[in-house]
């Protein structure tokens, strides 16, 4: 294992110290327990957005804390859900009196830990709405599984709902916007290589030099198929077909197209993917109204990409275009 770390046990703490040193204008960092909060939290009269999950997906979630996006993020150990005490402390720290939305990616651990946290917060009188993100079309049979995983739509949800909260919209409406984003978004990922959790020291899964994992999850969970390497055009065709055929997309729709790098893929390849996606969608009569290209929800050093499509409406578009000032996303300010 070759990594720019000191000790596997210290990676998350030292990353937080780096974030604190780099962005004191945007965030403040708590260490007992771990969470990152907006520098100006709690913002009075604004619904607060709290998310969290295992580390290793940077810039998600800590890099999305700031004006126009999250109020707090709770980092767990690498690829391990954070704990209820972190979520409870973060919720209390950012609650500006208008309620708190917990944005939870649909993984067994995240769901259970956030559930316990919401129970603790409500028991102390906080108003908490929980929303679950489950946009990954690679998980086909949700009836017999833990359900679809939360992936790329999380980033879009945090931006769009964050803008709605910034406009002082009420708790119920902000939570409903989250649910709307989730129901109108679909994603699919693929891996060219595996990744190594620092504490584990060896790759999470084995993938041959000429193999790809189609439908991979953001923790290296297996996808739909393992196959021989293909061209970008063939790969995008498979991913986009799976997404578009899952609904809610149809001819004439306007979408936000999000081409995401898994952590080890250069931007040059992401633009090749975007070009293929643009051609594919044009062929289906779907217009890309907005786009996001880069590595925003990663899996350590995994090479590969994911594609997320969000069916847009006027409100989503205005909220997407609204100003945001975080370490990971910044425009309009």
């Amino acid at each position: 294992m070759k990594k720019l770390i000191n000790d596997p046990a210290d990676v998350v703490r030292e990353e937080l110290q780096g974030i604190e040193a780099a962005h004191p204008d945007l965030v403040k960092v708590a260490y007992d327990p771990f969470y990152i909060a907006r520098a100006d939290a709690p913002v009075k009269g604004k619904v607060a957005l709290v998310s969290g999950g295992g580390s290793g997906h940077e810039p998600m979630h800590g890099g999305f804390v700031g004006m126009g996006m999250l109020d707090a993020a709770c980092p767990g150990e690498v690829f391990t859900s954070p704990t209820p005490d972190q979520m409870e402390a973060a919720t209390k720290a950012v609650d500006g009196g208008s309620g708190v939305v917990h944005i939870v990616k649909n993984y067994t651990g995240d769901v259970m830990n956030f559930e316990m946290a919401a129970e603790l917060c409500r028991a102390e009188g906080a108003e908490v709405e929980s929303v679950v993100v489950d946009d990954d079309v690679a998980v086909q049979d949700s009836l017999y599984t833990a359900g679809r995983r939360g992936v790329g739509a999380t980033v879009l949800m945090e931006k769009i709902a964050g803008a709605a909260a910034e406009q002082k919209r009420p708790l119920k409406e902000v939570a409903d916007i989250c649910r709307d984003v989730n129901s109108n978004a679909r994603s699919m990922g693929m891996a060219l290589t595996s990744c190594t959790v620092p504490a584990a020291g060896s790759p999470t899964f084995e993938l041959g030099d000429d193999e790809i994992e189609m439908g991979v999850g953001i923790h290296g969970e297996p996808g739909r198929d393992r196959m021989k390497m293909k061209t970008a055009s063939e790969i995008v065709d498979m991913m986009a077909t799976a997404i578009v055929d899952d609904a809610p997309f149809s001819n004439g729709d306007q979408v936000l197209a999000f081409v995401n790098g898994m952590g080890g893929t250069p931007l040059i390849e992401l633009y090749v993917v975007y070009n293929e996606l643009n051609k594919f969608l044009a062929g289906r009569g779907i217009t890309i109204a907005r786009n996001l290209i880069g590595s925003y929800i990663t899996s350590l050093e995994m090479a590969g990409c994911s594609i997320t499509l969000l069916k847009m409406n006027d409100d989503f578009t205005r909220l997407w275009d609204a100003p945001v000032k975080t370490a990971g996303l910044r425009w309009g300010v």
């Binding site: 295992g54 391990t80 067994t108 259970m112 830990n113 017999y144 899964f205």
Partner: protein, 226 residues
């Protein structure tokens, strides 16, 4: 007048220390099992949690077994993370609720505590028997313990049967297709691998049997039943 075997507060403390050592010893193998069908962190997370338990356990000096189990549960909830944190945390919290205020626990107490713990884990994780989870070791352990008592077995014998049943349940997860947790994403590909959660649960029941069924650690008291 009959003799009743029961477990003391110190026996429970000793159990937690022994289980923490067993988890540390099996950290790698649990993580390897998780690597095959999960996210390769079960042993690492459990070890982090039980090392924290070891740090906390001597600060609880109430002599109340329920309070001790609750401390273990809360410590696991706040240090393990993942799915294991809420699940093992709930297991020990429920053992604590069931044994609240007791300085010794009898076979009947343990049977009730196991029942509460298994119900708590199922309520939190929504898993049924056969989903390829820790429940597949816990349910047989609970049932075998209760059945042994019905058959007239004493505490040590019942604990051994409970541990045997947990291990059989653990082994029986190998051919199962996972329906809960990250392993469920594998679908048919999850068959052929032993569930890591069932493994750590079977290890817990075996550690309980070894710790409390041996003559050295479990004490015999005369029960005053009139």
């Amino acid at each position: 007048m009959s003799e009743e075997v029961s477990v003391s507060y110190d026996d429970v403390v000793a159990l937690m220390k022994t289980y923490a050592a067993a988890i540390a010893e099996n950290k790698q193998s649990l993580t390897e099992l998780d690597s095959a069908i999960g996210d390769a962190d079960h042993g690492i997370n459990m070890d982090r949690g039980f090392q924290a338990v070891i740090g906390k356990i001597d600060t609880v000096t109430s002599g109340d077994i329920g309070a001790l189990f609750k401390t273990v549960g809360m410590t696991l909830v706040s240090t393990v993370g993942g799915a294991g944190g809420p699940l093992y945390g709930t297991l020990f919290l429920q053992l604590g609720v069931a044994t609240a205020g007791k300085d010794r626990i009898t076979a009947e107490d343990w049977s009730a505590a196991l029942t509460a713990a298994v119900s708590g884990v199922q309520a939190r994780g929504k898993a049924e028997s056969g989903d390829k989870t820790m429940v597949d070791a816990l349910i047989p352990a609970r049932d075998a313990f209760a059945a042994a008592l019905t058959d007239g077995a004493d505490l040590p014998a019942a604990l051994r049967r409970s541990a045997d049943a947990a291990e059989a349940g653990m082994t029986a997860t190998i051919p199962l297709v996972a329906r809960k947790g990250r392993a469920s994403y594998l679908g048919e590909r999850s068959a052929g691998h032993q569930d890591p959660g069932a493994t750590s649960s079977a290890l817990l029941l075996r550690t309980v049997a070894d710790a409390w069924a041996g003559d050295a650690s479990t004490t015999t008291e005369e029960a005053h039943d009139g």
